[in-house]
Symmetry: C2
Subunit: 428 residues, 2 copies
């Protein structure tokens, strides 16, 4: 308890520091995983990637400026397949963002089921498994459609697979699970080979159960020399004879331009046919000019990785700074823990129980917006009110440093409050 006493002794100076920060009337935002301006600049030449009129004719003689080509240009599929570590014939190219694909898939399943199954809207109850902490926009989709979400702990190497296997085997109202298998949002967790194999071997009671495998950060390494590698879940399911189990997603949103990129779904031929039946009604085809622009600029996997190396050079110092400040200011007290990701866009931070909401409120008072408390849990309910998602990518190093210094002061103040109350509670 020496550390705690030392912390309690600092209370007055921490309160002074917090007051001083508030006086600065800062306006900082660590809430969303947005790329830095410098990252966006790297893709500027992409906008000039189509130069001659011949550039507007894609493989097969397709004029990319006219209607058609429902599932995407073949060259875009090839590029995407290389990024997704899968085969082009399993890829459908979509519009701006993979979030939209996931939304549309859940929406379609509600109204039309999955490969001929009963539409979910006709069922008394539909459930999804949600590894926690996880991505707020995933949970928002299932919440919007009234799908009941069940928390599954995210362990160091992926979701608690004992629990996942047990649940899906016996409950045919469980229709899906949200996964970010690499550099997970927000923890940075990378699923182990064993977890991936167990996923591929799932035997769900519901024939229309799908693994929503959102490989959003597939090439988003912080250290290009030590990239994390996970198996191609789709290939695993095909090898095993379980090919229709998985929808795999990826996007260029955090590679080229956020919100103006291209995205993709990879899945089995039967799933593709099921999805295309819906697509044919919804669209004549997505923006092929943007598809070919991506192809011409990035060329192939090597081109993408080279580009992501430049991203890493911008982002790594920020993630290092987070670790440096948290280690220096908080580690000695043992009052919090946090992730040290090797890729992705977030650091997951845990306070002592019951403090996250207060920390985030005090940060807001000091002019720093953090992702709201509970956002990393379904229904915004963090059962222990501990988890805080730190998004260090968009801020400059100076801003980040400033924001994190306030953060550590606030965490300390909230922790002091916690101990004081606990002390009181103990004395009653």
């Amino acid at each position: 308890m020496n550390e705690i006493n030392r912390l309690l002794a600092e209370k007055a100076s921490l309160e002074d520091a917090y007051r001083d920060f508030k006086k600065k009337r800062l306006k900082l935002d660590l809430s969303r995983g947005k790329p830095d301006h410098a990252q966006l600049m790297l893709s500027m030449p992409m906008l000039d990637a189509l130069t001659s009129e011949a550039d507007y004719i894609a493989e097969g003689g397709i004029d990319i400026r006219n209607y058609g080509c429902l599932d995407g240009l073949i060259e875009a599929k090839r590029l995407m397949a290389e990024v997704m570590e899968t085969s082009p014939e399993w890829v459908i190219i979509f519009c701006d963002s993979s979030l939209n694909i996931m939304y549309d898939l859940v929406s379609k399943s509600m109204t039309h089921g999955v490969m001929g199954s009963t539409p979910w809207c006709k069922l008394p109850e539909v459930k999804f498994l949600c590894p926690v902490p996880g991505y707020d926009r995933h949970f928002a989709i299932t919440e919007y459609f009234g799908i009941k979400m069940i928390n599954v702990p995210l362990l160091h190497d992926g979701p608690d697979m004992d629990m996942v296997e047990e649940l899906v085997a016996h409950d045919d109202s469980i229709k899906g699970i949200w996964c970010v298998p690499k550099y997970a949002n927000p923890t940075g967790t990378v699923y182990s080979d064993e977890v991936c194999v167990r996923f591929a071997n799932l035997k769900p009671a519901a024939k229309d159960f799908r693994v929503y495998w959102d490989n959003a950060y597939c090439v988003h390494h912080l250290d290009m020399k030590r990239p994390c590698i996970i198996p191609d879940i789709l290939q695993l399911t095909i090898d095993i004879g379980n090919p229709d189990l998985v929808y795999k997603f990826a996007s260029f949103s955090k590679i080229s331009f956020s919100g103006s990129a291209i995205s993709a779904l990879a899945c089995s031929p039967a799933n593709m046919e099921d999805v295309k039946r819906q697509m044919r009604i919804q669209t004549i085809g997505h923006n092929k000019i943007n598809q070919l622009r991506h192809v011409r600029f990035f060329k192939n996997r090597a081109g993408v990785l080279q580009h992501m190396g430049k991203h890493a050079a911008i982002l790594k110092p920020k993630f290092d700074l987070v670790q440096e400040i948290l280690n220096r200011e908080l580690a000695p007290y043992g009052i919090a823990d946090w992730s040290d990701p090797r890729g992705g866009y977030f650091v997951s931070f845990n306070t002592l129980p019951g403090l996250a909401t207060k920390v985030i409120a005090m940060m807001k008072e000091a002019g720093v917006v953090m992702t709201e408390a509970g956002a990393t849990y379904p229904y915004h309910l963090d059962p222990e009110d501990r988890n805080i998602r730190i998004a260090p990518t968009y801020a400059s190093l100076d801003e980040l440093s400033e924001a994190l210094k306030i953060f550590t002061v606030v965490v300390k103040l909230c922790t002091i409050d916690y101990f004081e109350k606990e002390g009181k509670a103990g004395a009653e």
Copy 2:
């Protein structure tokens, strides 16, 4: 009957002509409303419309290359509002195509209802009114969602409003009507002011009834000096106090690049809020780079109209050629009728009853793809099997001339067959 006898006398030479055409092994396509290559070329400078880094910062300091701006850039809303003849604050900008907006709206209504109404998937039956002949992709959306479609005759000045008023007033399972109010697909019909006013005054039994006002061809005049003008239905409904009745759609798909454009929905504030509740779950925001590119290139309504004048210069000769050939080859016999549109992308052609399927099949045999028979009717059921949609825009003048010559030969042959069978039937 002199004309008919003259036609019957031509049978042998028509059969010869048809055989000769088949020998040519043509590959022509009059099936879809696709812009001509020359039209696409007109928009090429748009791709270079963003030149400096300052061009990437939109009004309000929004970096168009990063996430955000759910409902579109304000400058894009202004441009769209001018094209849609409405107010920017009633406009939401969407992605590539307005078809996608309509699909998403129907899909959302199925799962979540309209402004708090019962989700349509929970109702025993949902119906839409379908002015016929109409747009096949509209009908495909309602068919896909199992919505029962009721044919309403499209008269010379719009749908049969007596029927529309009567039906919507007494049947609360009728939730919508598909409208293309200007240069309708395929007839070219322009709704009269009176029809528009009657639409705005509709008193549907269903509170969640909406008019799907697809103003796809709002500026797509063939003669810029004689543009057809229709009232702003949204303003009418607002003036009347019926503001939530209408969803209004438009798109740049046939102004800039087909499938790579921007599209928009205009509606009342209450409808907008309802739609945005769904959008917030589906996307972080659509492609803003493409939005600003359109704004910089087209600038304003005057810029769009100037551009559409160039489209008209390319398209008018094609539509004139259609009239010329049909008038010359078919008018003297009185065996068919067709529209002579002042804008849009189609000519609607009616054979004698029961011939459309056969005409289209014989065209296919001769190497000319036409829109399939029945496509202009819900469920692909043209009750009289008469209507054929001619799409003259994509073919060159030479191709169009060739295809239409075959077409008139085929129509004559099928008509001869019709009279011969009728004669026989009469003789039995």
